[in-house]
Symmetry: C2
Subunit: 450 residues, 2 copies
């Protein structure tokens, strides 16, 4: 039995002082408030539930910084996607494992304890199926095991290059599957994650571009989480309108049983009516502020969505930069810049913006990834501790801690991280850091010199 | 004689390999490219010229994270300013020194080597002049000496609360001076920085709100840098229009001899014509992307300004978060989000956005702060080294290093910092870190419990 004692901790019903947690089987067994520390307790300053990262393409971590030079013409999401497809073409299963391990390490070191891996790289470099349909998924699972991160694996169904069943392009050859292939992929994916504590497998129709209405119904018909990219780019909105007469979110609401199992990733471009419909559906809006800024997507109508009762979570998506607090900060800053106001997403008079962002992203992330989070009995023992001695926390208590974390100190404050009851990060470093970094460097140097 | 040797370094005319620098008297004496390292050389991986931080209010560092909860009504720049005035009311000279030392330490640790301190807190808590008009300026200088940062001190002239010579408010009692008092302040400020290597004193009319036309002419008539806040908020634009019939930047161009000595801080809200006028003037636009996002100011028209040949630099302003690479990243990301495009500020086909942002901010920052920067003979020996072993630099050379730094790794990559020929940061930590943090914590705990 492991016992932890914290000066202060964010529990489900608010901040508490002198909190002892006992952990067993990777989960929190008991939570006692106002406890005296004992000699056996491992002690810490501030404890937070680890933040779920609800949307990642781990392999893209290896492209971080490599697409920030201008192309021959004006750059956009679409020119970036061409570079990404070219990069994808070179990756072998070993590369995927090495890159994902680095990405997952950085997630843990910067405050994320579970990742939703939206995984679409299924086939070999020539586009042929591997003998094991989850060859690549196994590598993702291996990277999760090595780093210790919680995994919700979301194998992607990808059948078409555009609305109206446009045939897939050569750049998409490693993604494409049909309904039977997808059923085999799901089954193999469940086997791939079977050895991981509290892993989840969900379904991920890639986007409205990539699936038909009937494929969408088939792929989303299971019991677990359903994730889909939607309305990230204006061109996608225009193409959807041209094809169907409806905008993407409206089309999805009209043509699928969207409910609390769903996570709509990005949902950047919505009308006021779509925003309200999505909020009412109970689905989570999966926001990826760093990537959406990097790709020039635009700004999600967050204030209106939250006012309408919508659920949100955050994801590191392209992994160009991995940092939980920075995702929350950029989410709020985008709203401030467009509204020319402050504390836009705080949610009410006197409320802390940092705490509102953190709490909402905890709840939405947990819902989207199919595992509870929080420092409560029965939840996975996924904790992030902050350095109580850091200047940005001097004199702070309660929600002001989260304002200091999100807006001032950021990931510099992350000290130790516990995941499934195991301490995997100490003083900001993952236990396996040196090995993971060494392998990643070799991988990247080979990929870049190829 | 100190000699340094780097695998690669960003020189004035581009990247070079195997670079040896010799330092003497706080400056770079010689630069040799293609040199073999000798046993006496201190070796490093990647060397960059340190970035100038052209706009800081150091004392505001102590408010970081404390204004991120919503007030009784909707928050704005103006409600934030009220909180800031209240905080200002409590600060003693010892507090200023402790807070500035922490801010300057964080600047050095995250890649800034010189700061333009826009310093307006001159009088005691009751608004009475200290016996030494530069009592507070001396504390800023002491903090610069303790941390080692280069200082361009910009004592502020502040006479009125609003356009049309509105009398100052009680919240502004510690800032206000008249022309004679400002002359004494400037002289005492020069004495205060006399012991610092390569310090500069400039003039800072606070804003068009705070000075009359004739005061502006008198204050800006010297030889050094002239810094002024302008057009940060729409209300300021409206008030200026109501008072004068002209927008702030137009009014300034019509009524002052704005030239390359000037730095216009923010200049957020400009028409296309004002943007072109400012670019043609040769003045630097002092951009503060993190603070401008935090305060909900809006987005500077950067693409148009650079296309018109304008000069830019960056500043950490409110110091809510101090991070050189993050300032550059947010500058570009704001442009991407509004233009819905990528690599907006790269400057041309094939050009690196990270390098364009870094080079422009080096040049504009040096111009605005009145000291050259760059790894060239005669310049202050102000260098930032990056960890060449970091995954974000694996396999990168030349400008791609700056893309990896600005967009992916950020300040995590900063390893050692040399300032005026002295190594002040090693492995990311300022040599005086423990002492500075301990004093800051005591200061802040007292201020917050008062």
């Amino acid at each position: 039995m492991t016992t932890l004692w914290f000066e202060t901790a964010l529990l489900a019903d608010g901040w508490a002082r002198a909190v002892r947690l006992s952990l067993a089987g990777g989960r929190i067994e008991t939570v006692v408030v106002g406890a005296d520390p004992t000699a056996d307790d491992q002690r810490g300053g501030v404890a937070l539930p680890g933040l779920p990262n609800l949307h990642s393409h781990a392999f893209q971590r290896a492209m971080a910084g490599l697409t920030e030079a201008r192309g021959p013409t004006a750059d956009s999401f679409w020119s970036w996607r061409e570079l990404m497809y070219r990069f994808v073409g070179r990756l072998e299963p070993d590369d995927i494992e090495a890159i994902a391990a680095l990405a997952f390490m950085e997630m843990l070191e910067t405050g994320f304890t579970r990742v939703g891996e939206f995984h679409y790289l299924h086939h070999d470099r020539d586009g042929r199926a591997y003998a094991n349909p989850a060859e690549m998924g196994e590598r993702i699972a291996a990277a999760a095991a090595e780093s210790g991160i919680g995994l919700t694996l979301l194998p992607v169904f990808y059948a078409h290059a555009g609305f109206g069943e446009a045939p897939p392009t050569d750049g998409q050859r490693r993604f494409v599957t049909d309904a039977d292939g997808y059923a085999r992929l799901l089954e193999a994916s469940r086997a791939a994650v079977a050895g991981l504590p509290d892993a989840v497998v969900g379904a991920a129709p890639h986007s409205l571009r990539a699936v038909t209405r009937s494929e969408l119904a088939a792929v989303s018909g299971g019991a677990g989480p359903v994730h889909i990219h939607i309305a990230e780019q204006l061109r996608e909105v225009d193409d959807c309108l041209a094809w169907s007469g409806a905008r993407p979110v409206d089309w999805l609401m009209d043509n699928a049983a969207v409910d609390a199992r769903w996570c709509l990733v990005h949902a950047t471009h919505m009308t006021a009516d779509e925003t309200a419909r999505l909020a009412r559906s109970g689905a989570v809006a999966g926001l990826c502020p760093i990537t959406e800024a990097n790709l020039g997507d635009g700004l999600f109508p967050a204030a209106a969505f939250l006012d309408a009762g919508g659920a949100i979570g955050v994801g590191s998506d392209s992994n160009v930069r991995i940092d939980a607090a920075e995702e929350l900060r950029l989410l709020e800053y985008g709203q401030r810049l467009s509204a020319r106001a402050r504390n836009v997403l705080a949610g009410g008079a006197g409320a802390s913006t940092g705490a509102a962002l953190y709490r909402r992203s905890l709840a939405g992330g947990a819902q989207a990834l199919g595992q509870p989070t929080g420092l409560s009995e029965g939840a996975p023992a996924d904790l992030v501790t902050l350095d109580a001695g850091h200047p940005d926390l001097a004199g702070r208590t309660g929600d002001a801690i989260l304002d200091g974390y999100v807006f001032a100190g950021g990931s510099r404050l992350v000290k130790d991280v516990w995941r499934a009851g195991r301490k995997v990060v100490e003083d900001g470093r993952l236990y396996a850091r040196d090995r993971i970094v060494a392998r990643y460097r070799l991988t990247l140097e080979r990929l870049l010199s190829a």
